[in-house]
Each structure stands twice: as structure tokens, then as C-alpha cells.
């Protein structure tokens, strides 16, 4: 059932991967999101990997995940008739989101200045790699380039080895979600005064916003952070954040401050099982850490911490991820399993909350299970509104139903390659 949250709102989604999550979030909130695709399909249909390793137009896992619940129309913007058709859609829409290179829509006569004259209510979000002002505004970027430009990549990886990405590229997801927030901000006054506006989202800046304020470090503390593998780069000590265990890895950190009680609780657990070194068990826990953290740690303190980490590592190797997670929960330790897709899919917490949602994909002849509502809202539940569309699946519904074209006219558009 369509969420009531944005019921009645219509978004035209002209993005490729630069912003696809924006329309997905709007669809989850109940807006009618029309994905406007070129006649040979949106490039996101071709993003690997593919379901069952079959590279069909409906098999891209990216497409299935981030275009879910949208409608698909085909439209050739290179043709004058196609551009007219888009204008008709714009007149009947509340939002438009796109990720074209700067100036591309203007070159087609479809820039914001033109669209706002057709529909002053329109909120038009442009998702860009580098904004629209600086010397790199026309630069080409893939996700890894944006990840690098915003400072996140430099801090990922091991010293002496290349900085790295995540296997599911993240930069453009942040930019897409930012386009959704900004569009919602613009929506709020628009519903009173009837005036839309143009939004420029800057993916590079979105990546900077993932750095947890590390970006202020060089200005206030004089230096920038180097990547250090599984160690935190915290001032005053390199603390290990990922430990190996029997069947994988677990994230755990010994430290002072908020981590102090948790640090000593794991030592208590090791003592219970006779696996705390005598020097550690006898002392009743770490002495080096004060509640104010280890900013003033001495060489002896750091040695104690290093030795403790080694002891914890030996202990964790006797446990599975599941055993560690159960104890983390029971003993209120600050830790978490390094979960993979299987762990997440089988998490009892997500099951208890009925988080995952299964939708029917008739064209694939199967159901697909995917993340559910990003929040639980008491009055207006949100979540996936259906599977990702087939190419042009809603041409008749949109061009006929919304624009009022006759069947003959739609056939004509198809025959001439306009849709």
C-alpha cells in the first residue's frame, strides 16, 4: 500500500547512479516517482553484479535495489518531440531530480529557467560531483573519484598500501540522500506559497560530511590523519578496532572515556574463563585508562594497552562471531560483529522488527527481499512500494493516463523512437 506520507506528490527521476537513492526514498515515502529512461534503458540497469549473474536489463542488483517502487517511462531527450513530452510531464510534477553534467539540460532547452516557467511549483534538484562553481565543476567523476575528492578514501586502508573504496560504492548514495533532504526542505514552504526552486547538491561535500569532523583536525591540532588499517588514528595511541575471531572478525575497542567500563568488562569475562594474563587479572582490570581517555598516556600505559590487546586477540580467537555478539549484548560491551550479508539477513533483531520486505517481481517470475522502511512511523508507514520496473513498463499508464495521449499516439511515439 502506498504510504500516505507523500501521497499525491509526483517526482520525475532523470538520474543515473548520481542520485538514484533520492527517488527511492521518495517512493518509500509514498510519492509517485517516474523514472524517465532513454529508450535503451537507464545506465543503472547495466551496473554489475547481476542477479544470478545474468546481465539482463532487469537483473542489475543496483537497479533492483535503488529503482524499486518507481515507474518507468522511456523518453528520448535527444528528439524535439521527446523534449516536448518531458515538458508535459514537468507541468504535472512536483519534483524533478537529475544527475546530468552541468549545462546538459540547458543545451536541450530544458534548463531550470525553462522548467520553472512551465511549472513554478517545480523543485528541481541537480546532483553534481563538484558543485557548479569551481574549476572542477565540469569534471567527470565515478563514485571512487568522488569518494577520493571528499577525503574519505585517503583514510581507508593500510599504511603503505593504496587507499580503498567500499565494495558497494557509497559517495553517490550520500549525494542522492542529500538531494532527498534538500527537496523535502524546499517542499515544506512550497506547499504554502506555491513556489519551487533549484537545488544543487555537491557530492564532494557530502563525502566530507562522512568524516566525523576529522576535517577540522589539521586546523585545530596541526596535522591530518593517515590511514592505519584496523587501528584508530586517535591522538595519543593507535588502538585496534577489529579483532579476528574463530569464524571472522569482530569490532571491539579498548579505551578510556565512554569505553572504560566496557574495556574492563571484557577483562572480567576473560578472567572468568581463565584467559586473562595473570598481571591483568590480578590488577582487576586496566589501570592505564582514566575516564578522561588516554590523551596523556605514558609509554608504560601504551605498553599495557598493547599487551591487553594481544591477550584479547587470543581470547577472541576461541569464540565465534555469534558467541561474541551474545556476550557483547549481555555484558553491555562496546563491540559488534563484522557482519556480512548472511549475518544481517538472519539477525533476530531485524526479524523481530519485521524489517525486511518481500516484493513480487512478475517479469523475473520471483519475489525479491530487500531492506524495508528506513523508519517506523506510527501514522504513515514507509517502505518499498513494489519491485523495480521493467523498461517502459508504465508508458501507457503515464502517457495515456496522465498526459491523455491516445493509444494511436503512443504507438506513433514508439514507432518513431521517441519513447
Amino acid at each position: 500500500m502506498r504510504s500516505e506520507l507523500l501521497k499525491g506528490m509526483r517526482m520525475l527521476d532523470l538520474t543515473d547512479e548520481k542520485g538514484a537513492l533520492c527517488g527511492k526514498m521518495f517512493a518509500d515515502m509514498g510519492a509517485e516517482v517516474i523514472k524517465v529512461e532513454p529508450p535503451d534503458g537507464c545506465s543503472t540497469r547495466k551496473i554489475p553484479p547481476f542477479l544470478d549473474d545474468q546481465p539482463g536489463l532487469d537483473h542489475s542488483l543496483y537497479f533492483l535495489a535503488y529503482q524499486a517502487g518507481k515507474r518507468s517511462v522511456t523518453l528520448n531527450l535527444e528528439s524535439a518531440d521527446g523534449r516536448e513530452l518531458l515538458k508535459q510531464l514537468v507541468k504535472r510534477s512536483d519534483f524533478l531530480v537529475e544527475g546530468f553534467p552541468l549545462g546538459h539540460l540547458e543545451s536541450l532547452g530544458l534548463g531550470y529557467a525553462t522548467l520553472t516557467e512551465l511549472n513554478p511549483r517545480l523543485i528541481h534538484a541537480s546532483v553534481t560531483p563538484f558543485g557548479d562553481k569551481g574549476p572542477a565543476k565540469d569534471y567527470k567523476a565515478t563514485d571512487i573519484v568522488s569518494w577520493a575528492s571528499g577525503g574519505a578514501m585517503f583514510m581507508m586502508g593500510e599504511e603503505g598500501k593504496p587507499p580503498i573504496q567500499m565494495m558497494l560504492p557509497q559517495a553517490w548514495l550520500h549525494a542522492g540522500a542529500e538531494a532527498a533532504v534538500a527537496s523535502m526542505i524546499a517542499h515544506y514552504p512550497r506547499q504554502v506559497d506555491g513556489l519551487g526552486q533549484h537545488i544543487v547538491v555537491n557530492a564532494q561535500a557530502c563525502v566530507v560530511w562522512t568524516l566525523m569532523n576529522e576535517q577540522a583536525m589539521p586546523l585545530l591540532h596541526g596535522d591530518y590523519l593517515r590511514r592505519s588499517g584496523v587501528f584508530t588514528g586517535a591522538i595519543g595511541g593507535r588502538r585496534k578496532t577489529v579483532y579476528a575471531c574463530k569464524d571472522g572478525h569482530v569490532s571491539f575497542l579498548i579505551a578510556g572515556g565512554a569505553y572504560f567500563n566496557s574495556s574492563n568488562a571484557v577483562i572480567a569475562w576473560m578472567s572468568e574463563e581463565g584467559m586473562a594474563p595473570a598481571w591483568l587479572a590480578k590488577g582487576g582490570g586496566l589501570k592505564s585508562l582514566t575516564p578522561s581517555g588516554f590523551m596523556a598516556a605514558t609509554a608504560a600505559d601504551l605498553k599495557e594497552l598493547d599487551d591487553t590487546e594481544e591477550a584479547i586477540q587470543r581470547f577472541f580467537m576461541t569464540k565465534t562471531k555469534k558467541e561474541l555478539w551474545q556476550n557483547i549484548l549481555q555484558r553491555r560491551l562496546f563491540g559488534a560483529p563484522v557482519a556480512n550479508a548472511a549475518d544481517i539477513a538472519n539477525d533476530p533483531q531485524l526479524k523481530a522488527r519485521d524489517y525486511f520486505v518481500t516484493v513480487d517481481h512478475p517479469a523475473l517470475g520471483r519475489t525479491l527481499t530487500m531492506p524495508g522502511g528506513f523508519a517506523k512511523m506510527s501514522e504513515t508507514p514507509v517502505g518499498p512500494q513494489g519491485a523495480a520496473p521493467q523498461l517502459g513498463q508504465h508508458n501507457h499508464e503515464i502517457y495515456g493516463g496522465l498526459l491523455g495521449l491516445t493509444n494511436t499516439e503512443i504507438v506513433e511515439l514508439r514507432a518513431t523512437g521517441i519513447i
Binding site: L61, P135, A177, A258, L350, F374
Partner: protein, 405 residues
């Protein structure tokens, strides 16, 4: 300039650390009156966390806290005291939104859950955002975004191989959830305006963040396949990754490059001076099948080039590339500068200090960092006087009793 979008919206904001404050910052920077209620007896941990002004710790010296709390007013109460809770309840009818990010039992223990508050303020919108949600067996799990990034799969897909995980920096999921939470909150305000109905929003950081790895979950459910890390490997681009350039003033420099097709490959070779090329790299398929050797080849040639000049040359040849910037580089970045991203605001205690700005810009109702983050209790007198008409003598008395700070 137009009136700001959320002018007139009032928020009583109990959130702390990152997800909640970054969420309510969207409202504050766009005109909402967001009153950060800080429980002085149990400080927001970010107030104690670096980076600090002049590298000196202090509750009013943290840029980490400051950056996430612009355009808000600060009211310091000791919520463990019944008098403080009475004061809060008197303020409640004034608010449109109450937000909090404690573990679920905290507000319940204060008698401030949604049912009891909506009995006083029927159209109240309330946002609760904790790690794993308000229900379920793990609801009381305390933690930080770095742990949530491990639990949500991001650690697992980051590394050179499955045996060598290399997590994303910091509390990664703290910077995913706020955009989802802000959308939910703004949409709830719009819904209330249409229908007169408030509502309760339970946003688990975990559940919102899983949207950023949705393809691998969908794949697992459908086929049982588990995605594992493999460095900078891509199935779409090659070469693809970070390549070390010439060092500059003793600092290592890298360039990120992604090559999509034969044209871009030829363009890359042209920029690199058309070096002799191994026959295995003649076709896209050959380059995909010999990734390791290809990376070594590209790396060996790029090593003597400057990251900046190579970026300019590659982009001129229409190849995706940019320097892998460190946290100092981004302050010198001409694009962020031109976008107006960085701001120096004059904080009451810290003085002029560096804030990151907005990731977007609006043409008609531009928002912005209206003022720096509040010092602890900076607006206590002002807020209590204005909202409750509390007299200065009464405020002074409550301060003596350490109900207010």
C-alpha cells in the same frame, strides 16, 4: 531573501552525539527554533571529544560538537532531577517536535514516552533514534556509529580481502542515518499540516543504514551469495583505484582513476606519454583479466607524476580522476571553496572556529549556519524566560539547586 522554510517550527531536542544533532541541524539551519536540551549531569560525549580549539579539552571547546549543533539554542537541565522534568513538561506545549537519541529506556524512565507526551500535546511529532530501534531483543544495545558500521556490513565490504578488513573511517553510519531521519521528520511536519495529526518516528540507525548496502542484501536473499571485499576492484571500470603519484614536501600523494572503456584507456595512455603497453592490456577484457598487472603498470608510470597536474590532464582528456585528498587538502580545495563550503563562525567560548557548511545550495530559500553552536547552557535564561516567562530570580534559584545550568 525569503523567509526560511522552517521559521516558526519549534523543536525540543534531547539528541546527543551525531545522528540526532545532525538531523535537527537541517531544521535549525533552515530556520526552526531548535532548543538543544542538554542534561548537564550527563554531557553529550561530543562536548568532550577532539578536535578542540587550540588542542585543549573543555566542554565548550569541541569543534566535533560545534559542527553538528549550529543555529541551535542551548538549554542545560539536569534531567535526573524531578524539577527539571517538570520544567520540560511545562515547555512541551510550546513544541512541534521532540527529538531524542538515547537508549529506549531513558525517556521512559523520565516518564516522557510518546503516549504521555502526546496526551499533553496531541499533535506532537516525536523522533526517537537509537542504534537498533525501540523494539526487539537488541533495543537496549548501547553503542556508537563505528560499531553500527560493523554490524551493518560496512566493515565487511571494506578491505583488500576478506582476511584483511579495513574499516571506513570513524562512526560511518552516523552519517547515513541523519538524511533519512531528516526526510522522515520534515515529511511528518508536512503531514501534520495537512491532517492535524502528529506521530511517533522510530528510526533505528541500523535499519536506515542498511539502505546503503541494499544490493548485497537483495542478492543474498535471492541467491545466497555473500559480497566480500577486494580492494579497489570494480566490475565496471579498469584501471580503477588509487595510484601513488610523486610525493610533495614529504607528503604522499595518490590519484583516483576510473577508466570505463577503450576510448578512455587510449586517452589515459596518451596523457601518460603513450608508453609501450603489454599486449594483454590491448582490450577491455584483457585489462579486466589482468587487473593486478595492469594496476602495477599504471602505478609505475603515475609514480613520477604530480597528482594535481595529472588530474587536470586526465580530465582534459575526459577521464574520471581526482587526487585522493587528505583532511588538509580538502581545506585547500578550490571547488569546496567556490561552493562556499567552509565557514568560520565566532563561537562564544572558542572564538573564530572552522565549520563545515551545507552539501547543497538552494536558489530561493538558502539556509545556512545562522550562528555557532551554543556553549553549555548559553541560552538557558533566555529560553526559560521566553517560553515559560520564568523570572530571573527563579532561574537563579534553580541554578543554585543545579536543576538548571
Amino acid at each position: 531573501m525569503s523567509r526560511l522554510p522552517f521559521a516558526g517550527i519549534r523543536v525540543l531536542d534531547f539528541t546527543w552525539y551525531a545522528v540526532g544533532p545532525v538531523t535537527t541541524k537541517y531544521l535549525a539551519d533552515y530556520g526552526a527554533d531548535v532548543v538543544r536540551i542538554e542534561s548537564a549531569a550527563r554531557l553529550d560525549g561530543l562536548r568532550l571529544a577532539p578536535p578542540w580549539k587550540d588542542a585543549k579539552p573543555g566542554v565548550d571547546n569541541s569543534q566535533f560538537f560545534a559542527s553538528f549543533n549550529t543555529s541551535k539554542r542551548g538549554l542545560a537541565l539536569d534531567m535526573s532531577k524531578p524539577r527539571a522534568r517538570e520544567i520540560f513538561l511545562k515547555m512541551l506545549p510550546w513544541a512541534d517536535v521532540v527529538s531524542e537519541s538515547f537508549t529506549p529506556k531513558t525517556l521512559r524512565n523520565w516518564g516522557l514516552d510518546y503516549p504521555s507526551m502526546s496526551a499533553i500535546k496531541p499533535d506532537l511529532i516525536m523522533l526517537s533514534t537509537c542504534m537498533q530501534g525501540q523494539t526487539g531483543p537488541h533495543r537496549d544495545y548501547p553503542g556508537f556509529g563505528n560499531l553500527m558500521a560493523a554490524l551493518s556490513g560496512f566493515y565487511h565490504i571494506s578491505g583488500y580481502s576478506e582476511a584483511e578488513p579495513c574499516p571506513p573511517y570513524g562512526a560511518y553510519t552516523d552519517f547515513i542515518a541523519p538524511r533519512f531521519a531528516a526526510c522522515a521528520l520534515i515529511a511528518a511536519l508536512d503531514y501534520r499540516r495537512r491532517t492535524g495529526k502528529g506521530q511517533y518516528i522510530d528510526l533505528a540507525q541500523y535499519e536506515a543504514s542498511l539502505h546503503n548496502i541494499a544490493p548485497m542484501l537483495l542478492d543474498y536473499f535471492a541467491t545466497g551469495r555473500v559480497l566480500n571485499p577486494a580492494g579497489n576492484r570494480s566490475e565496471r571500470y579498469t584501471p580503477h583505484g588509487a595510484y601513488r603519484c610523486a610525493d610533495e614536501d614529504g607528503h604522499e600523494r595518490w590519484i583516483a582513476v576510473a577508466v570505463a572503456d577503450d576510448r578512455e584507456w587510449q586517452a589515459l595512455l596518451g596523457v601518460l606519454g603513450n608508453p609501450p603497453v603489454d599486449v594483454r592490456f590491448a582490450t577491455m577484457l584483457g585489462r579486466f583479466r589482468n587487473r593486478a598487472a595492469l594496476d602495477e603498470f599504471v602505478g609505475s608510470i603515475v609514480r613520477i607524476r604530480g597528482a594535481e597536474e595529472l588530474t587536470v590532464a586526465l580530465q582534459a582528456a575526459s577521464v574520471s580522476a581526482y587526487p585522493v585528498q587528505n583532511c588538509m587538502d580538502i581545506h585547500r580545495d578550490e571547488n569546496l571553496e567556490a561552493f562556499g563550503f567552509w565557514h568560520w563562525l565566532d563561537h562564544k567560548v572558542m572564538g573564530p572556529s572552522p565549520y563545515e557548511g551545507q552539501e547543497h545550495r538552494m536558489s530561493r530559500t538558502p539556509g545556512g549556519l545562522r550562528w555557532p553552536a551554543p556553549a553549555l547552557g548559553q541560552h538557558s535564561d533566555e529560553v526559560l524566560g521566553e517560553i515559560l516567562g520564568m523570572a530571573p530570580a527563579e532561574i537563579a534559584e534553580l541554578k543554585r539547586e543545579q536543576v538548571i545550568y
